[in-house]
Symmetry: C3
Subunit: 161 residues, 3 copies
């Protein structure tokens, strides 16, 4: 766990808050693996919920499946449902919602190297393709293919790489 | 007050943060009724302002008129002006603004069983009809009739029930 | 500094949180001027970062160039990059992002008497003209001329004064 985290942190390259978040998240996630760990790690997970999710407003459950190289900028008002699946080297920002569109609905699956702009909404049973960029302020309710930029409300493809 | 609150809480059905918010809000609102109550309840109201409005980012004044069964999910960046009137069983989410469109302008009146999606804006002297749904990321600046879904920026009706 | 601040605060006219923010910001900015000041003011700047930027969610670096009469309403989820230049008597609100559109990209220059609505995005190497209004929920990625109102995603001019 420690070696992985170290290489992840290195990639964050000076984003203090992102580093702090990632440490807290991976640490809290480590104690969410099984019943015994959850009992031992209860104070750590409580601290994570209270301080990171409630106070800092980075509302990501520690059981969320998130790949390596996850990068959070600012993060206030960032809400990610616990059923969202996130690939490697994904970048997310502030005031963003990633989750289900209806009660008990499915959540997005985010590919690798995806970048999501500030003030975005990504909801429903959709997939976001590798290397794609979701522009700031987008409302994404449909699948996004690989290697493109989407923007607008509702979001449409504006460019292919 | 206690009996009402108990049935309200029951309806929240496991939304821990929503329950915590509702207790804090109803409790603080109880001490905002008249001058004497406001003197007695000063520390409670101060705690509510500081902890719930400023730290958790659920910025709803305790004098706001909110019907029973009010349900807040996540709530970071949720700002509701104190002159907004909210009906029963209304659901609100994070990164949402409900208030006046211009300085000293009037605020929305929200009907019963209305559901408001994340990252929405609902502003001006408008009425939101019963049972309607405002989709995530909508910017609502005109009246919304009963039993419909609105979406987009500016929000338009996309479906009737 | 004190006299300037006093006249600024007077203009805020009862916006308690805005006043608290402005005091904290100007005070922390005062200690960011040079190396010696930064050493003396380290605890103050740390408090500002932790309490105002992280906890209250008003994420504005104390080195940002902001003119007199700056007015923040609510401010949760308000992120302004440190390279943004803001004129006099500018009003900003909650859930708003002002910054660069791409990594290492340039940031907006905001004129005087500009008012920016809630849940807005203003990004890229653009200029916002004096006296203009950016409506709530706008996504601004192009220059905005003087004396107009822009709205929508992407934002377009809807009215000239």
């Amino acid at each position: 766990m420690i070696t992985n985290l170290r290489s992840e942190i290195k990639a964050l390259n000076g984003n203090t808050k992102g580093i702090l978040f990632l440490y807290s998240f991976r640490f809290s996630a480590y104690f969410s693996r099984n019943k015994i760990m959850r009992i031992i790690g209860f104070p750590i997970r409580l601290f994570y919920t209270f301080f990171v999710q409630w106070m800092m407003g980075i509302d990501i459950y520690d059981t969320t499946q998130i790949g390596r190289g996850f990068n959070v900028y600012h993060g206030q008002g960032l809400i990610i449902s616990s059923s969202v699946i996130i690939g490697e080297n994904v970048i997310v920002r502030q005031n963003t919602t990633i989750g289900n569109a209806n009660k008990n609905g499915k959540c997005p699956v985010i590919g690798n190297n995806v970048e999501i702009g500030a003030n975005s909404v990504v909801i429903g049973d959709i997939a976001i393709g590798d290397n794609s960029i979701i522009a700031a302020g987008s409302v994404v309710i449909k699948d996004v293919p690989k290697n493109c930029i989407v923007a607008g409300n509702p979001a449409k493809i504006v460019k292919y790489f």
